[in-house]
């Protein structure tokens, strides 16, 4: 059973619409748990309002604001990386990506925001560390930016959506998985291993 509740609030020319998808808790069937929350806000002029502005300081944790700010920082550095490839050369580009990687490590500390957030940020970290120092192409930077923008817009993304985002990284020529885990697919009893 899945239940969805949509709430719309209008104030000061802005309309906020929040859709919560509620499912039974697998461990306690009598309880319900929120599977995903998506929020969109349309301003008086019809433009989208920034996620960070949705929550007054009293309602949002400082953590979410910090995480969103870091996502902006990373996106800026990736744009710099793209510009480097175009104008300054591969070293300038790689340096910008390395600085983005440092911020991504810090961003992983905000994985308490949700497993969807953690899946994507973890996969972005793995994508960069699995490059083993090889600079990114413009296409790969573009794929990274796409995922950063997705998490920026929807930090509370569901596990399923996050797994699709991770898949996008793989399809974009990156390796977003911890490949050392693959051996665990074959750990059945030695006698019956195929």
């Amino acid at each position: 059973m899945t239940h969805s509740d949509e709430t719309a609030i209008s104030s000061g020319g802005m309309t906020s619409s929040t859709l919560a998808t509620i499912v039974p808790d697998p461990h306690t069937p009598s309880m319900l748990t929120v599977q995903s929350i998506t929020t969109s806000v349309t301003g008086g002029s019809g433009g989208l309002v920034d996620m960070a502005d949705l929550y007054p300081d009293t309602q949002i944790s400082a953590g979410l604001r910090s995480a969103l700010a870091q996502l902006d920082d990373i996106d800026g550095l990736l744009v710099e990386g793209l510009g480097g490839l175009r104008d300054e050369g591969i070293i300038a580009s790689d340096d910008a990506v390395q600085r983005a990687q440092a911020v991504l490590r810090e961003l992983f500390c905000f994985r308490w925001l949700g497993d969807g957030f953690g899946q994507v940020i973890g996969a972005l970290n793995l994508s960069l560390s699995n490059q083993d120092g090889l600079p990114l192409t413009a296409e790969q930077i573009g794929v990274l930016r796409g995922r950063i923008r997705k998490v920026r817009e929807e930090p509370f993304l569901s596990d399923q959506t996050a797994a699709q985002e991770v898949e996008q990284l793989a399809e974009g020529g990156l390796n977003p998985f911890a490949t050392e885990l693959f051996a665990f697919a074959d750990v059945g009893d030695d006698d019956s291993v195929r």
């Binding site: 697998p26 560390s129 699709q164 898949e167 050392e180 885990l181 051996a183 665990f184 697919a185 006698d191």
Partner: protein, 270 residues
């Protein structure tokens, strides 16, 4: 027209090991005009490789610690016939040393225990497994041109994902018997050829398969239960692969003799 009959090992490579292994599997499948995946492979996939990923995910989730998880696995790997688990753990620990750069002292100072290398590694691996399990399950029916031999006794229940992942039913509801039983029992001569092709090296897997085939041949009136169906394993692929098709598997050693006994072939993706 060439046909590939895809087994569990190739399905596993294609959806649970993204990168070179998946590419190799998918490229091999695409060299055939038609490719078939029997639902029996999905059943084995869920009860085997997918369940091992889920087990490790849940271990990481419940301990919240890479070190504690490794210790728990090490204790399990100490039991007989657990060489593969030991090898997998060693590879994981070696790689974890490199992944440890994920966190640094200044991050621990700023964010506390969440940023500790032990906790960060546990979550990095747990979340990567979560992506693999969700993605692998979603893609399972997309690797071949068709999925064949739906099993009325087996329900493909979706995994339930939260703090831990629950795979749901992995076994059949083989009552009164396995839905493959009638087709198997209709060709006793093929069953005899398969049984004759099983090596006599003393492996438990071979002995169980031989016993299961013996029951089908000698006592066809006995219902084929879920456990016996599982023991048939590779013999199912050799039996049900279409005439003239190629069984695509990473385990040609086991599939080869069985397939050849019925005039079919087994080939590795590489």
């Amino acid at each position: 027209m060439t046909t590939a009959f895809v087994d569990t090992t190739v399905l596993t490579d294609a959806v649970l090991k993204p990168g070179p292994r998946a590419r190799s599997a998918l490229n091999a499948i695409q060299t055939f005009d038609r490719s078939e995946l029997p639902v029996y492979a999905i059943k084995e996939f869920k009860a085997g490789p997918l369940s091992y990923y889920v087990w490790l995910h849940n271990k990481l989730s419940l301990t919240g610690s890479f070190r504690k998880t490794a210790e728990a696995i090490r204790r399990m790997a100490a039991t007989p016939r657990r060489n593969l688990l030991r090898t997998a753990l060693e590879a994981l620990e070696a790689a974890a040393n490199r992944r440890g750069q994920l966190s640094t002292g200044d991050l621990v100072q700023k964010y506390g225990a969440t940023a500790s290398v032990d906790r960060a590694l546990a979550d990095l691996y747990r979340l990567s497994l979560k992506s693999l399990v969700i993605g692998g399950w979603r893609k399972r029916r997309r690797v071949t041109s068709v999925v064949v031999q739906e099993l009325s006794c087996y329900e493909e229940e979706d995994p339930r994902v939260s703090t831990v992942i629950e795979l749901g039913k992995a076994k059949c509801n083989a009552a009164p018997e396995c839905s493959l039983a009638a087709a198997l029992k209709a060709k006793p001569e093929d069953l005899k050829k398969l049984r004759a092709a099983i090596p006599t090296g003393g492996r438990i897997e071979d002995a169980r398969r031989s016993q299961a085939l013996r029951q089908l041949i000698r006592r066809p009136g006995l219902p084929l239960d879920a456990k016996t169906c599982v023991h048939l394993g590779d013999a199912i692929f050799a039996f049900f692969a279409p005439a003239g098709s190629t069984i695509l598997t990473t385990n040609v050693r086991d599939h080869g003799p069985l397939a050849e006994s019925l005039g079919k072939t087994a080939r590795s993706p590489e």
